[in-house]
Amino acid sequence: MKKVSLIGLSVMFLGLMITPLALAEKAEDNYKLYCFQCHGSKGNGGGINAAALSTAPRDHTSATEMKKLTDDNIFTAIKEGGAAVSKSTFMPPFKSILTDDEIKEMVKHLHKLCNC
C-alpha cells in the first residue's frame, strides 16, 4: 500500500515538473492581440498604429516581401525586436510575453498568411 502511494506521489511530482508555468496561447490569438495593432487585421500592414510609424509595418500577406526573410530572421525579429535584425525599432522585442515555442508557432502562422 505504502509503495503504491509513493509511486502515486512520484507521478504527481513529475507531472508538476513538466507542466509549463503558463499555458501557451494559439499563434492566431497571439497574432491578433500583439500584431494587429501595427500589422492590421488582414496582416497587410494596415494596423491602427501604422500611420504613426516612420517605417511601414511589413505586409505579412506579401509572398515577395516575406520570402526575403529567413525563419531565423523572423524568429529573432519577434523575440529580440526589429533593431536586432537591423529593422525598425518600432517593432519591439516580444520575449517578455511570448515563449520560444510560441514564437516558433508564430513563424509558421506567418507562412500561412503569405502562403509561402
Binding site: 490569438d29 494587429f36 492590421g40 494596415g46 491602427i48 504613426a52 522585442p93 510575453i97
Partner: protein
C-alpha cells in the same frame, strides 16, 4: 505645575483632533467603497487582483484594472476625472475589441468614455477609497522632480524604443492602441510610471506592451519625460 497641566491639555487636544481627522478620512474611504459597490464599478473594472492571465480573459475586459489605482494615479487628477470621464485610450480599453477591419487598413470603431460620472462629493469619496488600492511591490520616491536630459530621454522615447508608435505623444499624433501619453504627467504617479516601464507584465501579463531591457538610468529618464508631459 501649571505649565505641565497646560502641556497635558494641549497633548490631549491634539490627540483628539488627530483622531477626528483619521476618522473623517476613513469615513470618506468607507463611503467611497460603498459607492464603488452600489454603482457596480466592479462589473467593468477589476477591483482585486490577480490580473488576467489568458488572452481569452483579456478580451472580456471592459475597462482598465483598478486594483492598483492608488499606486498608479495622482489623487487630484483622479478626483476630477471621476466627475467627468474622458477617453484616455483612443481605441478603448482593449483595442482589439474596437477595431473595424477594413479592406486595406483598420479603423477605430465607436468607443466612449465611462458613462458613470460622479458628483464632486462622490468623486472625493471614491478617490479616497481608490487611493488605498496599492501595488505592494512598488517603490516610492524613486523618481524625484529634478533636472534631467530631456534630449536624451526624447531619443529613447522616439527613436530607440518607439513609444510614439503605440501611444499618442501629442493630441493629434502618435499611435492609438495604448493610453495617451501627452497628458500622462497630470494623470500618473511618476514612481508608478517607472515601475510599470520596468515590467509591464507584472501588472498585466498579457498586455500588448512588451518589457524593454534598459538600464535603471534609462528607465528613470523615460519615466521623468513621461511625467513631464502635461
Amino acid at each position: 505645575m501649571k505649565s505641565l497641566k497646560i502641556l497635558i491639555s494641549l497633548i490631549v487636544f491634539a490627540l483628539f483632533l488627530s483622531a477626528g481627522v483619521v476618522n473623517s478620512v476613513s469615513a470618506d474611504e468607507k463611503e467611497g467603497k460603498a459607492l464603488v459597490e452600489s454603482k457596480k464599478c466592479g462589473s467593468c473594472h477589476k477591483m482585486q487582483g490577480p490580473p488576467d492571465k489568458t488572452i481569452a480573459d483579456v478580451l472580456k475586459r471592459k475597462a482598465p484594472d483598478l486594483f492598483y489605482a492608488g499606486s498608479k494615479f495622482k489623487k487630484e487628477w483622479l478626483e476630477g476625472f471621476l466627475q467627468k470621464p474622458t477617453m484616455l485610450r483612443p481605441a478603448g480599453t482593449v483595442y482589439l475589441n474596437n477595431i473595424k477591419m477594413g479592406e486595406k487598413k483598420d479603423e477605430i470603431g465607436d468607443v466612449k468614455p465611462c458613462a458613470s460620472a460622479l458628483s464632486q462629493k462622490e468623486a472625493h469619496e471614491v478617490t479616497e477609497y481608490l487611493m488605498t488600492l496599492k501595488e505592494p511591490t512598488m517603490k516610492a520616491g524613486v523618481i524625484v522632480d529634478d533636472k534631467f536630459s530631456k534630449a536624451k530621454a526624447k531619443v529613447l522615447f522616439g527613436q530607440k524604443e518607439g513609444c510614439s508608435g503605440c501611444h499618442r505623444d501629442k493630441a493629434d499624433s502618435g499611435g492609438t492602441s495604448c493610453p495617451t501619453l501627452y497628458n500622462a504627467g497630470e494623470r500618473l504617479n511618476p514612481d508608478w510610471i517607472f515601475d510599470f516601464l520596468k515590467n509591464p507584465q507584472k501588472y498585466d501579463p498579457k498586455i500588448w506592451m512588451p518589457r524593454r531591457e534598459l538600464s535603471d538610468e534609462d528607465f528613470i529618464l523615460l519615466a521623468k519625460l513621461i511625467a513631464s508631459m502635461k
